[in-house]
């Protein structure tokens, strides 16, 4: 009963508070933000399915190249670091708009988009080098599950970059003021989610060793 009371209190406080949308909802949260969290929940299921598929096929390829033959851990580590740092610049962009600093908002949005673009450029280079070494979508089970999983992630990052550049353009036109900080927050939620998915992919796909050799 106490928990319910607390929740109701939170909900009412939320309705009056943040985001600048001003309307009251049953939950006390803005519908847009709740929708983004629901969408991210569905994304958990999507990436969960793709990661599970990778695990299901892991070590079952009959022909090479195998993961140990193609992975370049130092290179991918740098890419992971770049994506992690883009989460920092994204949250700094949100902090900037929440205090009404539109110039810094634009700086951090562009920085985030550039870091994301660097990550994607790195992924394109990685894919190209894998293909050069003979690993394609059709080569073996590893190739199929790896390219589908990381390719889907790359598409998500690309969509995030488009989102960030759209926000930057809106800000340049003076259409993204402090009262619309929730728009940046929602885009940020998507961006951070893409980052946490990569945290999982980097560990379970790249760092945890796969048995190598025929059938491995």
């Amino acid at each position: 009963m106490t928990a319910v009371a607390h929740e109701e209190h939170d909900a009412h406080a939320g309705a009056a508070g943040h985001g600048g949308h001003g309307h009251v909802t049953n939950t006390g949260l803005s519908n847009e933000k709740l929708a983004m969290w629901a969408f991210l929940g569905s994304e958990c299921l999507l990436f969960g399915a793709l990661i599970s598929t990778y695990f299901l096929y892991r070590g079952r390829s009959q022909v090479g190249p195998y993961p140990d033959d193609v992975f370049d851990i130092p290179y991918t580590s740098v890419s992971s670091f770049v994506l992690l740092m883009s989460s920092l610049t994204m949250v700094l962009a949100l902090a900037a708009i929440q205090r009404g600093d539109e110039r810094r908002l634009r700086v951090w949005l562009v920085a985030t988009a550039l870091l994301g673009a660097s990550f994607i450029a790195g992924q394109v280079y990685e894919f190209t080098s894998f293909i050069r070494e003979g690993l394609t979508l059709k080569t073996n089970l590893f190739g199929s599950s790896f390219f589908v999983l990381t390719g889907f992630h790359g598409v998500h990052v690309t969509l995030g970059i488009i989102m960030l550049l759209s926000l930057w353009t809106l800000s340049l036109r003076g259409k993204l003021g402090q009262e619309k900080s929730e728009v940046v927050e929602i885009a940020g939620l998507y961006w951070h989610f893409v980052d946490v998915v990569w945290i999982v992919i980097f560990t379970v796909i790249y760092l945890i060793p796969t048995p190598s050799g025929p059938g491995g």
Partner: protein
């Protein structure tokens, strides 16, 4: 790692006026975010270091998974503001994530992946 994060949180959190509460009970400062990013970078470095060491497969894999989970929680809690947001969001995401994880683990165990 969580101990470090908790200590930073205690010292760095900047409480906002009550009028801005509700969905956001508290907002960290930019310095706080930078410190979280440094911790994330260090943890990533430790992960890569573990890849090149040989503590035995089970132990190394276990440590890698724990470190990845720590990074996941830190980004979700601090950068995605789940720690400061309305508890409905926290419960929605945590419940959904745990249920989805259990579902996929059960699926993989059924197909003999971890056996």
């Amino acid at each position: 790692m969580s101990t470090d994060a908790e200590q930073i949180e205690e010292s760095e959190l900047h409480r906002r006026p009550a009028a801005e509460g509700g969905e956001h009970g508290a907002h960290p400062t930019e310095i706080f975010y930078i410190k979280i990013a440094i911790i994330l970078a260090v943890v990533t470095g430790v992960e890569v270091g573990l890849y090149y060491t040989d503590f035995g497969e089970a132990l190394t894999n276990g440590m890698l998974l724990v470190l990845a989970a720590a990074k996941f929680v830190m980004v979700a809690a601090y950068f995605m503001h789940l720690k400061f947001d309305n508890r409905i969001l926290r419960r929605l995401f945590t419940t959904g994530f745990i249920l989805a994880s259990l579902c996929y683990v059960a699926y993989l165990v059924t197909l003999g992946v971890f056996i």
